[in-house]
């Protein structure tokens, strides 16, 4: 039988060779390698102040017949620390999700159990297949003053720990960032940039639960952002851009009435429209270059903008 034995880092471990007497002649191996007698006390294997490298398969054989008398898989690890838990609603009013992680590894398997209580109701937290450390709760009630209490318990063979979050329905509402942000120059307007974006696709009903937006922009050459808040619509025209300077632009979203701002969207870059550099060639110059060789006719000078394409 494949036996697993869990021990804490730093522990002293004693293994008996199954039912063999203390004074029986035996041989111990670790992952198939003989262990020298300094670790033996009679037929017992003694491992002092074990560390992670001690994890492995330990086998004990009867001295003369080499019969396998005992085998175990030793896993060295630590009990779980208090887990980090976060709950958020990015698809209000559908529901919210909670996700968690351990602040440091335990090196042995852990199991997580989450309970969500709303007043007297225990709510189901549907676990995601991936990522594993996340689950979803559907709102059965809206506009409640009763707080939600979420308790996450983590257990492994060496111990147990838990953390609890208590929050109001509105407090955890935080949309995902706006999507498909596009910025482009406005022809013939050297100080304008047109920015457009879309509601985050995770937000289920922007019409009934409208979002407002926060736009920030700055020329790459400066550190100071400029901001503008927009209470509706998903586009804006920047009218005070520095001519000819490349801009970086980002947008954030928030429910119109509750919750907190999303993270910033992906940054987009754009440079305001600039007038094409004119290749000024006047008629006068053309005629001058040719008249010396032919006639003395001098037509009045006219500016002709060479179409770059005409070469």
């Amino acid at each position: 039988d494949s036996r697993i034995q869990y021990e804490r880092v730093g522990a002293d471990v004693t293994m008996k060779c199954g039912s063999m007497d203390w004074d029986a002649a035996v041989t111990w191996t670790a992952n198939g390698t003989d262990i020298d007698d300094s670790h033996l006390n009679g037929s017992y294997l003694i491992l002092k102040n074990v560390d992670l490298t001690r994890s492995g398969q330990y086998s004990c054989y009867e001295g003369s017949s080499w019969h396998l008398k005992y085998q175990t898989y030793l896993k060295v690890g630590v009990p779980p620390k208090e887990p980090v838990l976060m709950c958020r609603s990015n698809n209000y009013p559908k529901g919210f999700y909670c996700s968690w992680h351990l602040p440091s590894p335990t090196y042995i398997p852990n199991s997580f159990n989450i309970s969500v209580i709303h007043g007297t109701r225990e709510m189901v937290c549907e676990k995601d297949i991936f990522p594993k450390n996340r689950c979803h709760i559907r709102y059965l009630q809206l506009f409640s003053t009763v707080k939600y209490k979420v308790t996450l318990t983590v257990t492994n063979a060496l111990g147990k720990n838990s953390t609890t979050l208590t929050f109001d329905e509105f407090a955890i509402v935080k949309p995902d960032p706006p999507e498909s942000v596009v910025a482009k120059p406005v022809p013939n307007n050297p100080r304008r940039l047109e920015v457009a974006w879309q509601n985050p696709s995770s937000w289920p009903d922007p019409e009934s639960f409208p979002l407002k937006f926060f736009l920030r922009y700055r020329p790459l050459i400066l550190d100071q952002w400029q901001h503008v808040e927009l209470s509706d619509g998903t586009s804006h025209t920047i009218t005070d851009a520095y001519a000819g300077k490349e801009y970086i632009i980002q947008v954030a979203a928030k429910d119109n009435d509750i919750g907190t701002w999303s993270d910033w969207s992906v940054a987009v870059h754009a440079t305001p429209w600039t007038e094409e550099p004119k290749h000024l060639t006047t008629e006068v110059q053309i005629t001058e270059t040719t008249s010396t060789s032919t006639s003395s006719f001098m037509p009045p000078p006219t500016t002709k903008i060479c179409d770059k394409g005409a070469g």
Partner: protein, 194 residues
Amino acid sequence: MAAADTPSAALRRRDLCSRGIRLARKMRSDVADLLDIYVEQQGLDASISVAAVEGVPVAAADRWDEQTGAQRLLDNLAAYRAFRALLAQMLEELREELGSADAALGQALAAVLLQVSAFAYHLEELLQLESRGPPAEEGSGLPAPPHLSLFEQKLRGLGVLRELAQWAVRSVRDLRQLAKHGSGSGPASGPAES
């Protein structure tokens, strides 16, 4: 075509709804400020839990998205009529308890009471538009408040203001639904069916 469905009625409803939304959002912001003043002046802990307070309309709604427009209006009107009486009661108690010592809290409370009354009137207008007409107000308002200790009275006031803050948000959502779907029911994306 019932009066409520004529194009002009629809336009009128949309106008009343958007004005109502602005009213409710302003009220919500003022109630939030009032809550801060109340907690501080009454020496309460902002994170204290308050059990459901008898006689205070609860904003929490199951299956909120399945309500008809008329239901929304009737629920809202009943709630704000109750809050009108509750806030008047609180104001009276405050004056007895604090006299004029606490003008800021009294003024903030009186200002919110005015907004609640205005909002209730606004809801009645909307119901009028639905050719349904607002229901008559029952009796002269709430029953006499139970005899409470001073601390219990303060907790009760906190419970009233917290529910009112939730109602203000709910009203914004309700009016948006009404503007979108009219007085019939309208499936908003709402919480899951239980």
